[in-house]
């Protein structure tokens, strides 16, 4: 573009085919600082652009002046008050009327047929290439009285076209395309316009000034307002940082720089940052690459980007040299694969700058969104919302975090959003770079959700962001504490490192990395503050660590022998004890051979209820922990109800959550056979089993799953789920207790409650239990029945004794019935 009035942010405005162009955005009313450092409004700027594009007749129209041309006087009254058109015997003199004219009322303006008639004529006549610019489109469309005529005219333009090359430009002040569409829809009278606006390229967003223009604004302030520049070498970086600030118009920069000049403050990046006028990450004069180097743990990312950079440079050079025949350029779109908090957003910003420096993007700003920003709760609205977001990111980077959320449960609307995204990536390929980010595993689901995605995001453009290592995490944590102004004791530092290591080792794919560390720092600060009560010189100590983290502290694990003794002390269960001991021995043996470390095994506990399965499961957790197979060794007990949901699509997440909760410990599924008790395809238990299967594979070594239930039902369960069968070893049989064992349990439980069992009571209890066992058969509750008996005996004793009589169960305390 040759004109001095041309500004970069309108470079993309091309008149090509469509008879109408819509301009909108916050910056429509901005000033545009041209290459001559002159301020121009949108009208003058547009005039220059249209003139450059070959329009010889450029007519403007506003509410008050239906038709005027720039340069010519606005066609109302002439300076000096004389007549314009005619001469009478007294020349151009206007005789003044006697009464004072009424104060001016808004003119009738475009309120009738004729302005439309005129525009229609201008648009349809051949000859001089004509542009009609409606400078106040909202007002003009809203207050037009003859909407029918306008609607008809517009429909004709759009259907049959205008004279070739003619165009009608409408200037709106709506900030987003969505608002613009809403506005037009709200007029209820221009259906064709609505349809036209639904298209992708119908509207052009007037954006904030880019770095060239902000550079000119600085020069303008320097030359006209006496602004001094404190840091000449840093000036381009400052201009870049200014251009990256969303929502700050040229007009605003002029005002701000005027403030600096008036206050005799020299312009530096630091000063702009101090006033919070710019985001300081980009204004320190260092290149994107230098800042990338300083980021923790991103060497691999840097290497990857370096490769991409040289690929683009080479491609540009080849094209410039005319030696490249490739039509498909290197894809600029990237996938950031990694857990949260690993610097993906920061790197996305650097990518924006890098692309800008390479000339791929004009502004290089980053618009960060998540799935919810693209998906609308209203039917049919998602493409519009997505369009708006994309438009705001034009000339920069659209960074979609957790992109996988666009698939899965949001499948349909997510699909609409992805469809729009693909269309715009194609249509605006010179103005848009998309970076999608997500967890490993999930991001692949996203890429697989539409065949168009892998083409836009080729495998070579997938960049992995590994989790931060414990030392890196600790560095982030301590830096955060330092930022809070806190100090800490050496003991606290040691313990915090243990906690960080623990968090790292027990992490799952949602682990927040740096974000998690900042959260921890926040929690520490809060409990520290409560403790020191204003004595801020107190350092952070170990006691400030919230209780939830205690599990990560290295504690003295009881020796395996003690745990095994504990097992041995259990009543009965001889076969169980044997199986567990064998397992322990085998694992020890494998450990000694130095072969691949043994993963914590999954176990099947089969046996009737009340036979100590849960107790043993807890003990197994501790034993595996002591053996180093599980980091924590805790037990999460679940039943079918905890895993299977009533609605479709909910079961998987529910099961996954249970698995997450049990990571580094034991997931104990009682009555596991109930998961698949039905053959109905509507039973979501199947889904639970499948999910479980997958999760067990995924978290191998991080989890022990113990499935428990009646022997025959469990046998059937395992038989019907061959995938599971292979994961569990031999079942551990839990047999019904015999009466002496039951009595022993009763004795121990009584003792635990502080009671003594008399011999007579023991005898009667033995009879009672024997009868119950016989009567209930396989449903006999074993330990549970003992517990029940104890409770009834307790109640009878309570009714019997008074004062401080000894708490001894008598025979009479044992009930006679079995109800």
């Amino acid at each position: 573009m040759s004109s001095a009035a041309a500004v970069e942010r309108l470079h993309g405005l091309r008149v090509a085919g469509d008879p109408m162009i819509f301009l909108y955005g916050r910056c429509v009313d901005d000033v545009f600082v041209g290459h001559d450092l002159t301020d121009r409004g949108i009208q003058e700027t547009l005039w220059a652009i249209l003139r450059d594009q070959g329009f010889t007749e450029i007519v403007f129209s506003s509410l008050r002046q239906p038709l005027y041309r720039l340069g010519g006087a606005p066609e109302t009254t002439q300076a000096g008050g004389g007549m314009r058109f005619f001469r009478g015997p007294m020349g151009d003199r206007v005789l003044t009327s006697r009464p004072e004219p009424e104060p001016e009322r808004p003119a009738a303006g475009l309120s009738d047929h004729f302005a439309v008639m005129t525009m229609n004529h201008l648009m349809r006549r051949t000859g001089p290439r004509t542009a009609v610019v409606l400078t106040q489109a909202e007002e003009q469309l809203r207050y037009i009285a003859d909407q029918r005529s306008l609607a008809g005219t517009v429909a004709e333009w759009l259907e049959y076209g205008t004279a070739p090359g003619n165009v009608c430009v409408l200037l709106f002040r709506r900030h987003t395309l969505d608002e613009l569409r809403d506005f037009v829809r709200g007029l209820h009278g221009l259906p064709r316009l609505e349809t036209f606006l639904a298209g992708p390229d119908a509207a052009y967003a007037v954006t904030e000034p880019d770095e060239h223009e902000t550079g000119r604004i600085i020069q303008q302030a320097r030359l006209r307002r006496g602004l001094t520049v404190g840091d000449w070498p840093g000036l381009p970086a400052a201009a870049r940082a200014m251009a990256r600030m969303p929502g700050v118009r040229a007009r605003d920069w002029q005002y701000r720089l005027g403030e600096l000049a008036a206050g005799k403050v020299a312009l530096t990046g630091a000063e702009l940052g101090r006033r919070r006028w710019i985001d300081t990450t980009g204004a320190d004069g260092r290149t994107a690459w230098e800042r990338l180097d300083r980021l923790v743990g991103l060497a691999g990312v840097r290497a990857h980007l370096e490769g991409l950079r040289w690929a683009i440079v080479a491609e540009n050079e080849l094209r410039t040299a005319g030696r490249s025949a490739a039509t498909e350029p290197v894809s600029r779109h990237l996938v950031f694969r990694g857990p949260p908090g690993t610097g993906k957003t920061t790197v996305a910003r650097l990518v924006g700058e890098m692309y800008r420096d390479l000339g791929v993007l004009r502004r290089g700003h980053v618009v960060e969104v998540q799935a919810k920003d693209l998906i609308s709760p209203y039917v049919g609205d998602t493409p519009h919302r997505t369009d708006d977001v994309i438009t705001s990111a034009l000339d920069g980077v659209l960074f979609i975090d957790e992109a996988h959320q666009l698939t899965g449960q949001n499948e349909r609307r997510g699909g609409e959003a992805v469809g729009r995204l693909l269309t715009r990536m194609e249509n605006d390929r010179d103005r848009l770079v998309v970076v999608v980010a997500g967890y490993p595993g999930r991001i692949e689901e996203f890429l697989d959700s539409d065949p168009g995605l892998p083409r836009r995001f080729p495998p070579g453009n997938i960049i992995d962001f590994p989790d931060l290592s414990p030392p890196e995490l600790a560095e982030v944590l301590f830096a955060a504490l330092r930022d809070f102004g806190l100090t800490w004791t050496p003991e606290a530092e040691t313990q915090l490192f243990e906690v960080v290591t623990g968090l790292y080792e027990t992490r799952d794919e949602t682990f927040g990395n740096a974000g998690r560390m900042r959260l921890l720092a926040d929690e520490l600060r809060t409990s520290w503050a409560v403790r020191v009560r204003g004595a801020i010189d107190e350092p952070v100590t170990a006691e400030d660590l919230p209780a939830v983290y205690a599990g990560h502290l290295r504690r003295a694990t009881p020796p395996l022998a003690d745990l095994l003794s504990e097992l041995d002390a259990l009543v009965g269960l001889d076969e169980v004890k044997t199986v567990v001991r064998r397992l322990v021995d085998r694992i020890r043996l494998r450990g000694r051979t130095g072969a691949e470390p043994v993963a914590a095994p999954h176990l099947l506990f089969v046996g009737p209820p009340g036979t100590g399965k849960t107790t043993v499961a807890r003990l197994v957790g501790r034993i595996f922990h002591a053996m180093g197979l599980l980091r924590r060794g805790h037990v999460v007990e679940v039943t079918r109800n905890d895993l299977v949901a009533e609605w479709i699509g909910r079961t998987g997440p529910r099961t996954e959550k249970a698995v997450r909760d049990a990571l580094d410990g034991v997931l104990f599924i009682d009555e596991a056979y109930a998961l698949t008790r039905s053959d109905s395809s509507r039973d979501f238990g199947r889904e639970a089993v499948d999910t479980l299967n997958r999760e067990m594979e995924r978290w191998r070594g991080r989890l022990t799953v113990i499935a428990a239930g009646y022997p025959d039902l469990m046998a059937e369960f395992v038989r019907r789920n061959p995938g599971l069968r292979s994961r569990f070893g031999e079942p551990v049989p839990f047999h019904s207790y015999d009466v002496p064992a039951l009595l022993e349990i009763l004795r121990r439980q009584s003792a635990a409650e502080g009671y003594t069992l008399s011999a007579a009571a023991a005898t009667k209890a033995g009879q009672w239990l024997d009868t119950a066992k016989t009567k209930q058969g396989p449903d006999f509750g074993n330990g549970r029945t003992v517990r029940l008996l104890l409770e009834r005996m307790e109640a009878r004793m309570a009714a019997r004794i008074t004062g401080d009589a000894a708490l001894v169960f008598e025979a009479g305390d044992v009930p006679d019935d079995h109800d």
Binding site: F85, F86, R93, L95, M117, H121
Partner: protein
């Protein structure tokens, strides 16, 4: 088909042009110029009148010298008074040139009456002396021959007087008077011839006095006539000059500052009223010069006719000024309407003219839309001096035929006029567009015929 909308604007209500025209000045009076004009005219006339009087007086005095002593005495005294009279009258007329007040004529008339009384008194005195002589003659021993001789003298003097009267326009000032008196001279001559000398003497003497009085009366009347004519000539000359000065008047703005390059051609705007006035004045001037008017008529010219014409001149100028203002207002209104139409409908002005290119006629503005539609804005005054203005919009649209569209457009005009402070009463449907106004070139070349 096309349509026509009419919008009424009462100029008097909004502009008060009538008052404005009055404020903007009555007649142009370049006073020193007028006085010079008047004085020169009067002086010229006076010189002529004086010369004539002088000539006649010399002739009269020559005759008087032939009279016998007593008559000579009487006439000489009268002549002396007349000379004095001539001198005073000239002075009074000269005064007229420097003092153009309306009562000049009346004062002149009063003066003349006073002089006449003076002369009469002088003559009564002379007659009394003659009577004394006669009485003394009666006392003396007068002979018949002396009586005859005296009778003969008086008779001869009486005939001299007759011839002096006959030189004057006595029939105009004292018609039949001389013919009534003259027979008595024949009677006296007969008496004398028959020897009745005393009777003849008495009759001759009395007749002489009557003739002498008649001559004085005629002489004075003639003099009054001459003076009245001079005054009338002066007044008419003044009026003519005033008319001349107001043929083209400067035009001033509201603040009385002359508008450069703009003048008011009174005769043009009054459609010839000024010429008619000038012609009337010229005709009167000729009559005055031709001495056909009576003294009373001449005095009326000066006393009422000229002031009346002066007032009429003022009215003509004022009317012309008002018409010029209204003409300007017609264009102003057309301009306003064109502006409103241009701003609100996109019509552009392509031409504008008065009918026949005559600023006194209605004004027509032609506007064209880019799509070829045309309309003509007509601004007319129902009669030349009416304060009502009628704005008509004639639509010659090719495609805007819906009544609604024209209503909308007319409403826009009314609204626009209101914004200019012209709260007009709204637009009325006025039938079809007048086809005669469509071709403005033809309108411009049109011959204006007026009854």
């Amino acid at each position: 088909m096309s349509g026509r909308k009419r919008i009424l604007v009462d100029e008097a209500e909004y502009f008060g042009l009538e008052q404005k025209a009055k404020q903007l000045g009555g007649l142009q009076r370049a006073v020193p110029v007028l006085i010079n004009q008047l004085r020169q005219q009067v002086n010229n006339d006076l010189v002529r009148v004086s010369e004539a009087l002088e000539t006649r007086q010399a002739a009269v005095e020559a005759q008087v010298g032939t009279l016998h002593e007593q008559a000579r005495n009487l006439e000489a005294r009268t002549e002396q008074k007349l000379r004095e009279h001539t001198r005073r009258a000239a002075a009074a007329l000269e005064q007229l040139g420097t003092d153009v007040r309306r009562d000049t004529e009346a004062r002149l008339v009063a003066q003349q009456a006073a002089w006449r009384a003076e002369i009469d008194e002088s003559r009564r005195q002379a007659r009394r002396e003659i009577q004394d002589v006669a009485d003394r003659v009666g006392d003396l021993e007068t002979t018949a021959a002396q009586t005859t001789r005296a009778a003969t003298d008086w008779l001869a003097d009486a005939r001299t007087m007759v011839s002096l009267i006959e030189d004057l326009p006595h029939e105009r000032h004292a018609p039949g008077e001389l013919a009534r008196i003259t027979p008595r001279l024949d009677t006296a001559a007969t008496d004398l011839a028959q020897g009745h000398a005393a009777s003849a003497l008495g009759l001759a003497q009395a007749t002489y006095h009557d003739l002498s009085d008649l001559r004085l009366t005629v002489e004075l009347a003639e003099r009054e006539n001459l003076l009245a004519r001079t005054a009338a000539t002066g007044a008419l000359a003044y009026l003519t000059a005033l008319i001349g000065q107001n043929e083209i008047a400067p035009v001033e703005d509201e603040n009385g500052v002359p508008i450069h390059g703009v003048t008011l051609h009174v005769d043009h705007w009054s459609r010839g009223e000024l010429t008619r006035l000038r012609d009337e004045v010229a005709a009167r001037s000729r009559e005055v010069a031709d001495r056909v008017l009576s003294t009373a008529d001449l005095r009326a010219v000066t006393a009422t006719e000229v002031p009346g014409h002066e007032q009429r001149l003022g009215e003509i100028v004022e009317r012309a000024r008002l018409r010029q203002l209204r003409s300007q207002l017609r264009v102003n209104l057309a301009e306003t309407v064109a502006g409103v139409l241009g701003d609100s409908t996109g019509y552009q002005v392509i031409d504008g003219t008065y009918v026949g290119a005559d600023e006194r006629e209605r004004f027509l503005a032609k506007m064209q839309h880019l799509n070829g539609n045309e309309l003509v804005v007509e601004v007319a005054t129902p009669s030349e001096d009416s304060s009502a203005m009628v704005v008509s919009v004639h639509s010659y649209d090719d495609d805007t035929t819906a009544r609604h569209d024209r209503d909308t457009r007319a409403q826009a005009i009314v609204e626009g006029l209101r914004q200019h402070g012209l709260a007009s009463g709204g637009a009325q449907e006025a039938g079809d567009a007048d086809p005669q106004w469509r071709d403005l070139e033809a309108v411009r070349k049109r011959e204006i015929t007026r009854e």
